[in-house]
Every structure is written in structure tokens, then in C-alpha cells.
Subunit: 496 residues, 2 copies
């Protein structure tokens, strides 16, 4: 308050009263929110792009945004079938055009039939178009080897982020020592830390094991939980599989152990499974939490509460801009589920074009459809290139002295560890920067490569990392990886 009064006198001297809304008077929870994926380093990248456009000389000709999992921004082309059907939905006059395949037209007509006024321009019900919820449920059943999924437990959302925030909102209660605690992995995707800060919940960190390719260790969950119980009421456990930013793909055994732990400790499970189509490593396989839970049988299958999230932004399609996604809830209390629907209804509905896109993603062309061959070829090409890029990333980084990189088993990121010389750490501290932020900023200024410091995701004290996407085209990625490795060598030399 002293500082706010200071502002006021300053303002009065300038002939202006203070603002009603200032840094001091605003929502303190919002002030505490951090979101590194679009943080200061990305702001600086934007400025550099502007300087380049204005003709300012730089040691590079373009800024490479390897900070965010945005495939199409990196040049990946949209899947033809998805965009054909969507264009038909947007402009149904095209349904008479001979330049669209029959199955695309049928799919568009089917989606439009399910829309209010047969138009993408009408609101849908708040949980999403019923037909699409049914298609999602069928997708889940196929994915999980026939284990049933109920469309009434599927809620469409504005990207997965929206659904994750909604479920976390339901869970937050209590004050002081009874405040809700939520276990999240470290490193994590910063949506979790940001949302918990905004909601005033307690973030309970459990560390993934870098020595074992970022595996999740149940004994570490125990440690985190016990420590947290002193000062909050832990009620939920978040898992990201395949891992963001780690690229780890969990084994079935690990998932079983996590479910047993959550059950015994009475924790609501949130499974962020948006990278379920992005598994590359030989021997790795995606197991959904839902499937493992159901196959474990009683008491888990009937009682353990679970929310599983998926998105149209990742996978092979990378349709980030459409903001499509869904959550499936399992064993959720019926009255709470009603409350969730009520909460969603305040925002009316998820974007309908994103819902339509999700429908196509969960029910792609069948082998007998005219669009099947092209769809399949495009899909496979994207996934094969991603697998090659995952391998390449691991390889190039591990050849560089002072950089070590776990295998990128899945998802779209590497999260390599970098050695930073003590003098660089000191220099960063003088500048008031996290040492890996200092490294990443210097990297950006000298090479134009934009990656996100590990401190934005969390990491063990004294270790330094960055997250880099594997999304640039293969040959460009190779150059980037080599450039980054050379920069690290130069940086190390400079501060040794």
C-alpha cells in the first residue's frame, strides 16, 4: 500500500490521478502467473523479427521459433482431407462442386446436419455437438481395444488447455492448510503452474528422473505427497504422457503404479494425453490411462476418478489455430459432472469449426473411402519425418560436449541438459536472470534460434536445460542443432 500511495503523489505532481487498476491493486494471483512458452524470450524474438524487417543488421537472417509446438508455423502442410471437409462445412455452396471427393462431401453434410441451423455459425450445446461426442467415444473405444466409452462423459473444449483449466477449477477449495494441492511433474508444461497460481491452489512438485529418460518414479510421488501434506490438502495428480517437455513415453507398468498410488492416496487423476499420436521410439507405445485403469479391474476400474485430455493441435495434423480438444471423464461424481457442464455453459460453446475438425481427426477416412490413400500417405509422411527428427535431435545433441539429451520417445520436444560454466552462472546472477535464461537469450541474439529455458518448466536445482521443438523441416533442423551446439561450445569457452 505504501508503494501505491507513492504512485498517487507522483501522479498528482504530474496532474494525473492514479489508475484504478495498477500492478499494486490488481489481482495478485494473476500477477503471480508465469508462462514461459510465450514469456520474455518470445517477446524478444518478436522484437528481433521487427528489427530484421526494418533492415537492422543481425548475425542471422531469420528468427527460428523452436519455442512452441506449432507444426504448421514451421511449414507442415495441413492434411488435405481435413481442410476439404472443413471448407465444405464453411461454405456449403461448394457441395455441388466437382472438385471435392464424395466422402469429403458426405462427411461435411453429416457434420452440418448435426449443427444448429445446419451451420457452423450457430452455437452448439456447451458440451459440444452430440454427434461429435459420439464419434469421440467411438474413437476412444477403438483406441482402447473395445473398452466402452460413454459420449455423455466426453466434453469438447477450446483446445485441451480449456478443459484442463475447467477440471482444475472444480478441484480447488479450502484455505490455508486445507488449500487444494495438485501434484505436477517437474519439468512440467507451464499451463499447470500458471493455472494453479491463478486459482490459488498449491503446486506440489514431483521430479521426473532424468537419469532414467525422465521416467516417473512412484517413490518420488510418495516423497512429494508426504512433504505436501503438512501445508495443504493434496487432491489431484497431473500426468503428462507422452511427456511435455520431456518427450518421455510411460510404460504400462509405470501407469499401473501411478493409478494404484492415486487410488490409495485418494487423488483425482488428470492425464494430459495430447501427444497420444506422437510416439516414435522403437519399443515405446502409448497406453491410455483409461485403458490401463479399466484393465486393472476392481476396485480401480469402478472408483478411480480420471480426466483424460486430447487436442487437435498436435498429432499428425497440428491444427493449433482451430482450438479443438476434448476431455473424457471417468468415474466422476454425477453431480460434479453437472456442475462442470454448468461452468462450461457460461462460455456458451467451444469454437464449432474446431469441433468439426476434431470430428475428422477422431474418425478419419476408412480404407474403402476415396480419400483414404491420400490421407494415409500424408499422415504417415508427417509421422515418419517426426520420428526421424526425434532421432536426429538426440544424436546431434549427444555428440556435442556439455550437452546431453534423453531419447525423444514421443511428443514434439527435446529437453536437453546443458552444462553452463560457473562464470556464466555468475554473470547471469549479476544480470538478475536465471542462468539458462541468460544462455537462451544469448543464443537468440547471436543465432536467431528461439528456445525456452528449462527454468520455465522446472528442473532440479543447479541443472540447466532448454526445450526445443523437433518441428523444423529435417534439413533445417540439422543445421539448427549444429548451430546451437556450436554456440554452446563458444559460450562455454567465453565464460571459462
Amino acid at each position: 500500500m505504501a508503494s501505491s500511495t507513492g504512485d498517487q503523489s507522483q501522479a498528482v505532481r504530474n496532474g494525473l490521478r492514479t489508475k484504478v487498476l495498477t500492478l499494486h491493486s490488481m489481482n495478485p494471483r494473476v500477477r503471480r502467473v508465469e508462462y514461459a512458452v510465450r514469456g520474455p524470450i518470445v517477446q524478444r524474438a518478436l522484437e528481433l523479427e521487427q528489427e530484421l524487417r526494418q533492415g537492422v543488421k543481425k548475425p542471422f537472417t531469420e528468427v527460428i521459433r523452436a519455442n512452441i509446438g506449432d507444426a504448421q508455423a514451421m511449414g507442415q502442410r495441413p492434411i488435405t482431407f481435413l481442410r476439404q471437409v472443413l471448407a465444405l462445412c464453411v461454405n456449403p455452396d461448394l457441395l455441388t462442386s466437382p472438385s471435392f471427393p464424395d466422402d469429403a462431401k458426405k462427411r461435411a453434410e453429416r457434420i452440418l446436419q448435426a449443427c444448429g441451423g445446419h451451420s457452423l455459425g450457430a452455437y452448439s450445446v456447451s458440451s459440444g455437438i452430440q454427434l461429435i461426442r459420439e464419434d469421440v467415444a467411438q474413437y476412444i473405444e477403438r483406441r482402447d481395444g473395445g473398452i466402452p466409452a460413454d459420449p455423455n462423459n466426453v466434453f469438447l473444449s477450446t483446445g485441451a488447455s480449456d478443459a484442463i483449466v475447467t477440471v482444475l477449477k472444480l478441484l480447488v477449495a479450502g484455505e490455508g492448510h486445507t488449500r487444494t494441492g495438485v501434484l505436477i511433474p517437474i519439468p512440467q508444461y507451464p499451463l499447470y503452474s500458471a493455472t494453479l497460481a491463478e486459482l490459488g491452489a498449491v503446486q506440489v512438485d514431483y521430479y521426473l528422473d532424468e537419469e532414467r529418460a525422465w521416467a516417473l518414479d512412484v517413490s518420488e510421488l510418495h516423497r512429494a505427497l508426504c512433504q505436501a501434506r503438512g501445508h495443504c490438502h493434496p487432491r489431484a495428480l497431473c500426468v503428462i504422457n507422452p511427456g511435455n517437455p520431456t518427450g518421455q513415453v510411460q510404460t504400462r507398468e509405470c501407469i499401473e503404479a501411478v493409478i494404484r498410488f492415486a487410488f490409495e492416496e485418494r487423488l483425482f487423476l488428470l492425464a494430459d494425453e495430447v501427444y497420444q499420436d506422437n510416439v516414435y521410439a522403437a519399443g515405446s507405445q502409448f497406453h491410455s490411462f483409461k485403458k490401463v485403469l479399466m484393465e486393472m479391474g476392481p476396485p480401480y476400474a469402478r472408483q478411480q476418478e480420471l480426466a483424460s485430455f486430447h487436442s487437435t493441435s498436435k498429432g499428425y495434423m497440428g491444427e493449433c489455430g482451430f482450438r479443438g480438444g476434448y476431455v473424457e471423464v471417468v468415474n466422476m461424481d454425477a453431480a460434479v459432472q453437472q456442475q462442470m457442464l454448468k461452468l462450461m455453459s457460461v462460455r456458451l460453446c467451444p469454437p464449432v469449426p474446431g469441433q468439426a475438425l476434431l470430428d475428422l481427426v477422431v474418425s478419419p477416412p476408412a480404407p474403402t473411402d476415396p480419400s483414404f490413400a491420400q490421407f494415409q500417405a500424408e499422415r504417415q509422411a508427417v509421422l515418419a519425418e517426426l520420428a526421424a527428427k526425434a532421432k536426429l535431435t538426440e544424436q546431434v545433441f549427444n555428440e556435442a560436449p556439455g550437452i546431453s539429451c534423453n531419447p525423444v520417445q514421443g511428443a514434439m520436444y527435446s529437453f536437453p541438459r546443458v552444462q553452463l560454466p560457473p562464470r556464466a552462472v555468475e554473470r547471469a546472477q549479476e544480470l538478475g536472470l536465471a542462468p539458462d535464461m541468460f544462455f537462451c537469450l544469448r543464443l537468440l541474439e547471436e543465432t536467431g534460434i528461439c528456445v525456452v529455458p528449462g527454468s520455465g518448466f522446472g528442473q532440479r536445482e543447479g541443472t540447466y536445460h532448454f526445450r526445443m521443438t523437433i518441428l523444423p523441416p529435417l534439413e533445417k533442423l540439422r543445421l539448427l542443432l549444429e548451430k546451437l551446439s556450436r554456440f554452446h561450445a563458444k559460450f562455454t569457452l567465453e565464460y571459462s
Copy 2:
């Protein structure tokens, strides 16, 4: 807690432990949220539609959803130009097709050039595509007679709702007697009450004057503010113009008085102006708060904080499903504006198809463009029909005994007052229902007409209203209005 323990023993008897997340243990703020526009009456409407599909006999053949401002669901056709450009953006292969006008192609190319990877499938920056923010700023300047608008003060959003919630989030702080209070009109659009409940802010009601066509009276603002100051810290004032649900269009004098009041009382102004294109009454005109504020000169123009919201869901286009919208902030503290951007960045970006649509809405075809004539004709046809329907609604309701309806000067709703006989009020109380909810439920069951009870928006104690959209096609609307009036007469007779 007693009840929660009761649940637990019940569960143990059933061989099930309790859920982690129950009505008792969930976020109490979320539990308190209400949203009438999609509340129990709409749930019942959905059930009735299902029963009709299953062949259950009803005294009607279809449910008419006059509960929500969803033009295309009511049969309004999308504006051709908007959908042509959007289809081209979705599927750029169509850019070579001869069936699209040249200006549509140019517009699509211009939008795609501004997208990451030249695709709607890439994320945009969190504040929205820069080119579109610039187009929005130019729209505001034209609308406001040349008063400058800065694209850096424009933030695109997922419908207007998203932006309104974001600005309210910034404003919420304090505990107990220092909790943020927000003045909202009664009747209000329930997004406001729902959001304040969820954020734990204090809702401060000011009543609109039904006797003066729902005008906003500054002496009532004073009364509300003085009363509130005892138990909270009022920091913001929300105004909806044109009014939802009231249909009122504020005079310039009224807006000046509101601005003066907000300035003197140090209140942040939120102006919900999503119906700015929907003004029908002779003598009524839309004045933006921004324009009036700027024309009032110092000290207001340089100091009064204002956020103004707009949307693609209403107006002549009614593109609700695309979830496009924006907020322009005026005189916002620069550091707070940075915090707002940070908060938006956690959700990555508004849906890009909605951003593209917004661009077309704010910069429609120019008179020299090939698409101008058709665009203009379609736009005028929609607005002229809305004006006729506004007039018709007022007329038919005012001819019905026991119903009185203010002129629908703007927006998309009537909010008529209904007399309910004392025996109906008693019967409702026996059933634990608000009397107007009882009336609306009976109306729905007997006629299939779905309207929202006034209690969902707020009204003076002892008065009863409902909100009904003016969106059904003209002849259908006439039948509906007559049917509703007849039902009211019958209902009145039944309970007299």
C-alpha cells in the same frame, strides 16, 4: 462436513469409497455459479426435443429456442462474402477456382499472409494476428468519427465473453470488506453474475428503470455504490449498451453522465457493446463509450479507464459458432496491460478462424469491390427484418392483457413484464420454483416455446419477466408471440 461424512458411510455400505471430488468437496465458488440462458429450462427443452424424436405425443411439433441470441440456429443464412473468404482461407487450393470473386480471393490471401506458415492452423500471437488488430483499430476509428484507436490496445478473444472474463479477473482482489465490488445492471446478462461468483468478487446491483424504457439512471448508480461501500471495495462498473436483455439503447447524455460518475467514483468502466450494429428504433443511435469519453476531453479522455467489448456473434452476421471477438482498452495502466497479455498467453490464442471472420466483419467489401452489392443487400435485409421483428414484438405483447413490453430499441431480445396471479405465485413457491420459472416451464411444456425467466437476469422484487429473442423468421415470430400471449391469458385464468 456432516453431510460429506454421511455420504461416506453410505458409500461404505455400498462397498464403494466416496469420490475425491463431490458436491461438498468441490470449489464452492463454482457451485454458486448460475447461468440461466442455458439453465434448467434449456435442459428441459433438450429432453422435450428428444421425446419428440422418440415419437412421444406433445401439444406441439417442435421446440422453439427463443432463449438464446443464436441467429443462424433460427434459420438466418450466413453472409455469402464472409463464408467465401473463410472457405478460401481454410482450403487455399480453392484460390485457383473461378467460382469465387476476386475480392474474396484477395482478402483470403491477405489474411493467410498474416498467419504463421500462411495457415489458419498455426497459433497466432496471444493478442491476435497483428494485421487483424490493425483492421479492428481502423474500424473503431471509422465508427468513432476519426478518433484514433491504437492496435496495441486491441486484443482479440474467444467471443466477447472470454475478454470480459479476462478484464474482470484483473480487477478482483482483496478479502472480506476490501473484496472487489463490481456494479452490474439489473436486469443483466448472466455472464457477469456467473463470472463474479466464480472469481469471488462482490456483485453490486444497480437497477435499470423499467418505467423509462429500461434507462440507466445515475442517481441509482449512486444509491448502489453508497450501499456497497459498507461491505466491499467497488472498483468497476459494467454497462451493457445496447442492453441485454432489455433492448435499451443509451442516449449520449446518459453515457456522459455514466462516464462522469465512473471518473468521480474511481471506477474502471466495462462497456459491453456487442450489439453495436443492432439498433432499430427511430431516434435511437449507438454511441460508443470510447467516442463519448474522448469527446468529453480532459480530465476524462486522458484518465478514465475503459474496456469496450465487441463480438462476431451478433450484429447482422450472427456467427456465434466461430467465437470471434475483441476488447479495446483505453487508458489502461501499461504494466497491467502487459499482465493481461501474459494471462491471455496461457491459453495460447483465440481461434484463428474466428479471428479471420472478425477481420471481414470490421473491414467489409468497399463500394468498388465486386462483392459489395451482394454483401450490402444481405446485410440490409437482415437488419431490416430484425427491425421489423423488434417492432412486431413490442406491438403484439402490448396488445395482450397482463403483458407489457418496452420498445426493443436495439439488441436481439424483448424482456416483457408479465402479471402472474397470486395463486400461481403460491403454487410456484410450493414447488420451490421462482414464479417466472414456473410460468416459463409451463409455457415450454404446453407450447414448446423456450424463453428464459426474468429471475435469471435479475428484476425488482415482486415483478416477473422473461427474455425472448426476436430471431425467429417474421411470420413464425408472429405466431409465437400470439401463442405466448394466449398461453399467458389461459395461465392467468387457470390460477385466478
